[in-house]
Amino acid sequence: MAKIANKQVICDILVEAGKKDKDIVALCSDSRGSASFTGFANELPEQFVETGIAEQNLVSISAGLAKCGKKPYAASPACFLSTRSYEQCKVDVAYSNTNVKLVGISGGVSYGALGMSHHSAQDIAAMSAVPNMRVYIPSDHFQTECLMKELIKDEKPAYIRVGRNAVDDVYEEGNVPFEMDKATVICEGCDVAIIACGEMVKPAKDAAELLKAEGISAGVVDMYCVKPLDTEAIVKAASGAKAVVTVEEHAPFGGLGSMVSQVVGSECPKKVINIALPDAPVITGTSKEVFDHYKMTAEGIAEKAKEALK
């Protein structure tokens, strides 16, 4: 079966929901193709708004629509949505508490060789620092589906980041544990706790397998809900292990690693190693080449876990 990209799942769910609820509106900024929102635009043209290449406008218009009863989903590359329209997200969405769902597509280093202007390695830090903004980074299409079904039901601001390409499944049909705003514990372990989000969950899960073969017991937590952070899950996983490793497709500051370190530092102090992108423009390459280069792979994570246990 062909793999489904997380963004495609988002669009499919919105089309279904939009057919029943005419207040669901999708907005794009010359980004319907890259967001996989062409389906929505074609099927529900009356509920689709194109703003042209104007991300600030995209977010403010969404806020205005929400204020008048619409349920807008604004989809634009994560890099532009989280930085170009940051103030609109902060003031018009979070601060004014409008029911806008911000869908950041092609997140992290999805755009590979297009360079730093197109990477969103600051979005977790930026968005999480805004009061009343929730931040979700689902790992695979099963989880994206569960998350979207919950988000459709609520009326609060949220930022959702997904990658560009279809990714390997973390979960399987019929076995998708999911509770809103609660991290998903993929496996428990008593040596090291690996906490990851988004595309890094799969290599984290594979790393646990590699470690197991070497007699090391690793727990893996899928922290798709970066904010509100599931601190309980962090404390539980960290308390039961000797060290913690975090993995994220983000700059090394202000992301999941920083947040987990804060929690572990104050609640159950022990060694935390953060695996992230460097504090520099990332090397040119596809996201796979980039991940390989910075050892953001199952092997690399396993290696760091062993280091943490030394």
Partner: protein, 277 residues
């Protein structure tokens, strides 16, 4: 003087090589902007690898940074780097020739790629020239989809407010952006009136892929005092081969073998025709 018309086709061939080799590239906008860049770099601007440190030389910002392949081809032809290196490494792992302009490379002034930055930065450069009583000119090229960004209009306002007659912007008016026709996505067919009402001298270039018409427009812009000039260059996206021309889906695309053969043939023919004059 070199035959710039033929050169523009030769540079298109370089772009095709880059895109095929690197398996990526914003091909449509590269093709539409080629004569604009060629005329700016080979006729209008006082710029070369030798005078980059000269504070009096002219300046350029590629605001529509996604057309970087065209920009690389022009910079290589100006001697800033070797085209062979670009073609061999463009977009590949570890390459310095990434998919948007980067100022670690010689000849590139500012990093771009996020649309709507080039004009306001150019305003700053032109303003510095006024402050320092220098004669240099500042050029920038924007896409027609790009000008939906609010920052473009903030820059436009400031440029006329500060009477920046040392600034010349170009709009690559190819009437297409990613999602289709610009008039369907976010209409601005009255682009001339809009810029004019913002206090700019507006010059329409009927054929923005014609070096002679571009030259005349840029030359005329230099004579205008007290306001900035914008050229609305009516171009053809994908210019050079019927395979790509005026097709929205060629915004970002790598030609397949069959398309490639046709594109190479068309470009070679047009280059030859341009050579013969």
């Amino acid at each position: 003087m070199e035959n710039l018309k033929a050169l523009a086709y030769e540079l298109r061939e370089n772009v095709i090589d880059m895109i095929v080799e690197g398996k990526a590239g914003h091909i449509g906008g590269d093709m539409s902007v080629m004569e604009i860049l060629t005329e700016i770099y080979f006729d209008q601007m006082n710029i070369s690898p030798e005078n980059m440190d000269d504070p009096d030389r002219d300046k350029f910002i590629m605001s529509k940074g996604h057309s970087v392949e065209a920009y690389y081809a022009v910079l290589a032809a100006k001697g800033f780097f070797d085209i062979k290196d670009v073609i061999a490494t463009f977009s590949k792992f570890g390459s310095q020739f990434i998919g948007h302009p980067n100022n670690k490379l010689p000849g590139i002034e500012m990093n771009s790629g996020s649309l709507g930055h080039g004009l306001p930065v150019s305003v700053g450069m032109a303003l510095a020239g006024k402050m320092d009583k220098k004669d240099y000119r500042v050029y920038t090229v924007m896409g027609d989809g790009e000008i939906a960004e609010g920052s473009v209009w903030e820059g436009a306002m400031a440029a006329s407010h500060y009477k920046l007659d040392n600034l010349c912007a170009v709009i690559d008016r190819n009437r297409l952006q990613i999602s289709g026709n610009t008039e369907d996505v976010m209409a601005h067919d009255d682009v001339h009136e809009r810029w004019s009402s913002f206090g700019w001298n507006v010059i329409d270039v009927a054929d923005g892929n014609d070096i002679d018409q571009l030259k005349a427009a840029f030359d005329a812009a230099k004579e205008v005092k007290g306001k900035p000039t914008v050229l609305v260059a009516n171009t053809v996206k994908g210019k050079g081969s019927s395979v790509m021309e005026n097709k929205a889906n060629w915004h970002h695309k790598v030609p397949n073998a069959e398309e490639l053969e046709q594109i190479r043939k068309d470009l070679a023919e047009r280059k030859e025709a341009a050579r013969r004059g």
